[in-house]
């Protein structure tokens, strides 16, 4: 048994396979988009590039949920809030980049503020014209909210259903707040009409490809980070808290500190996912705080399989691919399909798709054992028989 470090987490087989597939696929898509003319059958459109980028953002979000739910047993039904906050922080930066190219041509104020007859930028919009500041806020705002919220909840030993309910209330309350024009985040229209990011036009193909690559890299790094965390003693304590919290207390762990730690890290990852999402879809509005989003997120992780990390990623990509197809055919039925999927997975596949595959794999191995271990597969009973 080996404790993982960040370095060893990079070189373990699962992480290598994961990064290989992810970065390989990204590279192929990049090449097909950049080096094949639009009329070639091999060309991948900018639309597809962005769609993939979106899926990868969802995958990163699912990864963050798996960390708290799969490993620590905290079923957060409000993780979309951290995603949306990261998205808003990025959106504010993108708004400030518009400058005087808005409809009203005001170099200082975003359009919606001009529309509301505001004559100066609110204090909390200061600094967002700087990318480094926005980047800091993308990490800090979701992290801080999770820290304060988690501190109150875990210290008071709010667990189980109650915790899920208050996380849901949190995202709902934020949604209502962000709907209000007076709050200064664009009300129900949210933030949109973005022009450029770090000087690159958001409309151009190469920026879209760049965003896809950035998202893939972020996902890869986040994956390694999560492997490191879950492979360390901290990960084992967190799982112990999930399985037998009071036992963990009786051997001397302050379980609330561990929950708070993992919850905060997870929220930061969710915030990063949101920040990468917004420039790719071109808008952020209070709908992202919708409780439904957070519930969908739970379904992705359940479908993929909990507590494996890659299961969450696979679940997020598959379900969202399904959603893209499904909503194209019969949009009204999507929610029913999603609900049905959740029930089916809970009842028939408690370990998710990943669990199903590994079960099948184990069964196959049993049926056709590899040659070299043939001698070891004798059961003890057979071995002892005279």
């Amino acid at each position: 048994m080996r404790d993982s470090t960040f370095k060893s987490a990079f070189s373990d087989r699962t992480a290598k396979t994961f990064m290989g597939v992810l970065l390989g696929a990204t590279l192929v898509v990049t090449l097909l988009n950049q080096f094949f003319p639009p009329d070639s059958p091999l060309h991948v459109s900018a639309y597809t590039v962005t769609l993939l980028g979106k899926y990868l953002c969802y995958a990163l979000l699912a990864l963050s949920l798996d960390l708290v739910w799969g490993y620590c047993g905290i079923l957060s039904l409000g993780h979309g809030a951290f995603f949306a906050l990261g998205g808003y922080a990025m959106g504010m930066y993108l708004m400030r980049q518009i400058g005087d190219r808005g409809v009203y041509g005001n170099p200082e104020l975003p359009d919606f503020m001009v529309f509301l007859n505001w004559d100066e930028l609110p204090w909390y919009w200061q600094g967002f014209d700087q990318f480094w500041f926005a980047a800091l806020m993308i990490l800090l705002v979701p992290g801080l909210l999770a820290f304060v919220f988690g501190w109150l909840a875990f210290r008071s030993r709010v667990t189980g259903v109650y915790l899920s309910i208050i996380t849901q209330a949190l995202t709902y309350a934020l949604m209502l707040a962000f709907f209000r024009n007076e709050l200064g985040f664009g009300g129900n229209n949210g933030l949109t009409d973005f022009k450029e990011l770090l000087g690159f036009s958001l409309q151009s193909d190469s920026t879209r490809v760049g965003l896809l690559i950035a998202t893939a890299l972020s996902l890869a790094i986040a994956f390694v980070l999560c492997r490191w965390i879950t492979g360390s003693k901290l990960g084992r304590v967190v799982m112990a808290v999930r399985d037998a919290e009071s036992r963990a207390r009786f051997v001397g762990y302050r379980t609330e500190h561990y929950k708070l730690w993992i919850f905060t890290v997870s929220a930061i990852l969710a915030g990063i996912a949101g920040a990468l999402y917004v420039p790719q879809v071109g808008i952020i509005n209070p709908g992202e705080f919708s409780p439904l989003n957070s519930i969908e997120l739970v379904v992705w992780v359940a479908v993929g399989g909990r507590a494996t990390l890659y299961g969450a990623v696979i679940g997020a990509i598959l379900v969202n691919y399904g959603k893209t197809i499904f909503t194209g055919v019969m949009p009204e039925a999507w929610l029913f399909a999603l609900g049905g999927l959740f029930v089916a997975v809970t009842v028939f596949l408690p370990q998710g798709l990943v669990g199903l595959v590994s079960q099948r794999w184990a069964a196959l191995r049993k049926q056709f054992p590899p040659k070299k271990t043939n001698n070891d597969t004798l059961t003890p009973a057979e071995g002892e028989a005279p």
Partner: protein
Amino acid sequence: MSALDNLRDTFRRDQVFDFMRQGTRAVAPGQLDSGSGKNILYLEDITVSFDGFKALNDLTLYIQTGELRCIIGPNGAGKSTMMDVITGKTRPDSGTCFFGQTLDLTAMSETDIAMAGIGRKFQKPTVFPEHTAFENLELAMNGPRGPWHSLFTRLSGEQTNWIEDTLATVGLLEDRHKVAGLLSHGQKQWLEIGMVLMQKPQLLLVDEPIAGMTRQEVERTGELLKSLAGKHSVVVVEHDMEFIRSIASTVTVLHQGSVLAEGTMEQVQNDPKVIEVYLGE
């Protein structure tokens, strides 16, 4: 358990909303000061009631430093509840509970109590079911307990040896990579005893350690507990009279939440009150 009980258990207010409990503010864990006193644990006038029923009724009990004390008593006498009070799982309605001269256990959290040096093996074995035997002991191993430390720490050779020695002591060396949930009942009992040992506690509370063990295992457990006394103080709750006779120096009999008799096994067995409520049955 009926569905209603299940529901009650899930929605217990004191567990779900801890802030509704009053007067349980934790004090910083201090250093154990057994000082000049020969006792390590002082329970005085402890009363615990559940919905009017007194599980502990004015219980007064002292445990000496380094002794091996056996507690017996019929089902429902309050033995496990007493351990709950000592480990901070249950708060007494009245009474005082001191560890050494200075540590007021009624005002400390479960974690602080564990860190102050009290280890417990539960009646129903509670191990970390998804972790291997080795990992269970690793998690229980005494040392810094913060998240950041846990993230960066790596098991040293010395620590690995210590864990393996303990695995050998509790007879689990062969099964060290087995997931604890798959161990037999007796093995879980031992694993939990091993976990308590890894905490290096000064006081060990061992609730019904031999349930589900074979005769040989029972003997080894007795030897182990005897060898721990002296360096540690050990409190053992058991029903098995033969086992107690084989290990005990002092026996305390609990009945209806308070002490009925105390003394050597001989004295206790011949006490008419004890015969009436317990041994005579």
